[in-house]
């Protein structure tokens, strides 16, 4: 699905990720963990083609990212659902419109024809907030709306960057349950988090692999997690 081959990434300030080699396999649940500033977000951005490695190779869905045009990357992203910590909504559109945006972007059914939208809103617990604007939502509601938007196109891969960073423990558990459900449906999930309790909770319910980023390198974490 995604293959890093000795891929490195440097900002102008210096190297952040060094010679990463790993393969993200379909259907797996991954946690990416590491201290703040270790490169978790950068790693996820590389996974959806927003950043390119400075050296080494990176293939997404079997295609070399360096050979992709902007439109190619756009097509690839339709198969990847991304959830950011800050959610990134269009604040002038309602929750429903934001969630349905990937459908419009990919030229699929219009909002009114999409029968799954109501089910999706119910699934993430936002049925009563369908017409609200994003600034009117709480942190947890925003994350759930972002999750709904990420999965509306039924992508193969879901990338979540610290989705529980701004919500309380109950809401973190609820979001985790939604991601676990998606994984059980066959979706590959990459969840960046520094919350070890959440990781332990997930590992008790699903076979999760934990990738730890430390000293510019990424490695499979041991049994201590």
């Amino acid at each position: 699905m995604i293959e890093f081959d000795a891929a490195s990434y440097s900002y102008t300030g210096g190297e952040l990720l060094s010679e990463m080699s790993l393969t993200i396999t379909p259907g797996a649940f991954y946690f990416i963990t590491g201290p703040s500033g270790s490169g978790k977000t950068t790693f996820l951005k590389m996974c959806y083609g927003a950043l390119l490695p400075n050296s080494g190779g990176l293939q997404i869905f079997g295609r070399d990212v360096r050979e992709l045009t902007r439109d190619d990357i756009a097509l690839i992203r339709r198969n990847i659902g991304v959830i950011h910590q800050d959610c990134q909504f269009l604040d002038h559109l309602s929750v429903t419109e934001n969630i349905a945006l990937p459908l419009s972007v990919s030229g699929q059914d219009r909002l009114s024809d999409n029968l799954n939208l109501k089910e999706l809103l119910t699934w993430v617990g936002l049925k009563g907030r369908a017409s609200a604007l994003p600034p009117e939502l709480s942190g947890g509601e925003r994350q759930r709306a972002a999750l709904a938007r990420a999965v509306i196109n039924s992508p193969e891969l879901i990338l979540a960057d610290e989705p529980t960073g701004n919500v309380d423990w109950d809401m973190s558990q609820r979001l985790l349950q939604l991601l676990i459900e998606l994984n059980k449906m066959g979706k590959t999930v990459l969840l960046a988090s520094h919350d070890l309790s959440l990781i332990r909770l997930a590992k008790s319910q699903v076979q999760a692999r934990v990738l730890r980023i430390a000293n510019k390198r990424i490695q499979l974490a041991g049994a201590d997690l």
Binding site: Y48, A74, L75, R78, F89, L101, V105
Partner: protein, 300 residues
């Protein structure tokens, strides 16, 4: 195939796509206002151009088919020379009619300079013969040669000397009007390009979100292009409608001032005004499309 879909996407209405860009902002007002003002000015430039073109045709046509023969001779010979001249003119191929101007006609000609009461019969004025040509015209060089021999005091004026500069001036005025239209359209395109770029830069966050969920450049560009094209179209429609109303009442109220009211539209010429909004919409479409490609390239 891809570009065809991209272009057809601009004309198909996608409610969701059309709403992804926040509707407010100074660029919306700027585009609408600029297009309205330019549309209004284009109506004036178009009216000037059409009127000048009409004037050039009119002068060219009206004066081309007339000439004047002036005969200066001592009083006792004048009548005889006029008769000889008439005889020559009447047998010249291409001349439809030759009429000697009588005292009343001459008085009317001189009235603007000397007033109505001038005793014209006491003045030693040359005789004037008004010549009306047939459509094919006459050979003026040949006629001059014949007149030199029989009517030594005759001078033929076929109006070429002063007709040509007038026609050229009118044609230049017409070209100037068209050039002004081009300048206004170009200025509008530049203004709309700036507005579109400003709008896209101000909405970098929107573009970032759209890219995150897999929007292609064509989709993002179309959201801006459609909006700017419609604004330019609407602005130009408002401006040209205002211009049309002004000209309608201007020409209607002052029928007697033929030169001033000549600047306007006649008959089917009014149909030209319907072209202004689509042209502005088209120009905005191209300008915004180009600006969008550039900005999207920079934001990647």
């Amino acid at each position: 195939m891809g570009s065809e879909r991209q272009i057809s996407g601009l004309f198909t209405r996608d409610t969701q796509r059309d709403r992804v860009v926040p509707p407010t902002g100074f660029t919306a007002t700027l585009t609408l206002f600029t297009s309205a003002v330019m549309g209004f000015l284009v109506v004036f430039a178009l009216a000037l151009s059409l009127a000048s073109s009409r004037l050039a045709d009119h002068w060219s046509d009206a004066l081309a088919r007339s000439a004047t023969l002036k005969i200066s001779a001592p009083a006792e010979q004048l009548e005889q020379q006029v008769e000889k001249a008439l005889a020559i003119l009447n047998t010249t191929p291409g001349i439809e009619q030759a009429t000697v101007l009588n005292l009343n006609d001459q008085r009317r000609l001189l009235e603007p300079w000397f007033g109505a009461d001038v005793p014209i019969e006491l003045l030693a004025l040359p005789a004037l013969i008004d010549i009306r040509e047939e459509k094919k015209g006459f050979d003026s060089d040949n006629l001059r040669l014949r007149l030199v021999a029989d009517v030594p005091g005759a001078v033929l004026d076929d109006h070429t000397r002063w007709r040509r500069p007038l026609v050229v001036a009118a044609e230049r005025l017409s070209a100037l009007g068209l050039f002004s239209i081009l300048l206004m359209t170009g200025a509008s395109a530049a203004m709309i390009t700036l507005a579109a770029r400003a709008a896209m830069s101000a909405n970098a966050q929107v573009i970032s979100v759209l890219r995150l969920i897999g929007a292609k450049d064509a989709y993002i560009a179309a959201a801006f292009v459609r909006r700017f094209s419609l604004r330019a179209f609407s602005g130009a429609a408002i401006g040209s409608l205002c211009g049309a109303v002004v000209f309608f009442f201007l020409t209607g109220a002052q029928d007697d001032l033929s030169i001033l009211t000549g600047i306007g539209f006649q008959g089917l010429e009014w149909l030209w005004l319907f072209l202004i909004p689509p042209v502005f919409g088209g120009v905005a479409l191209l300008a915004t499309q180009r600006a969008a490609q550039k900005v999207l390239g920079m934001l990647s």
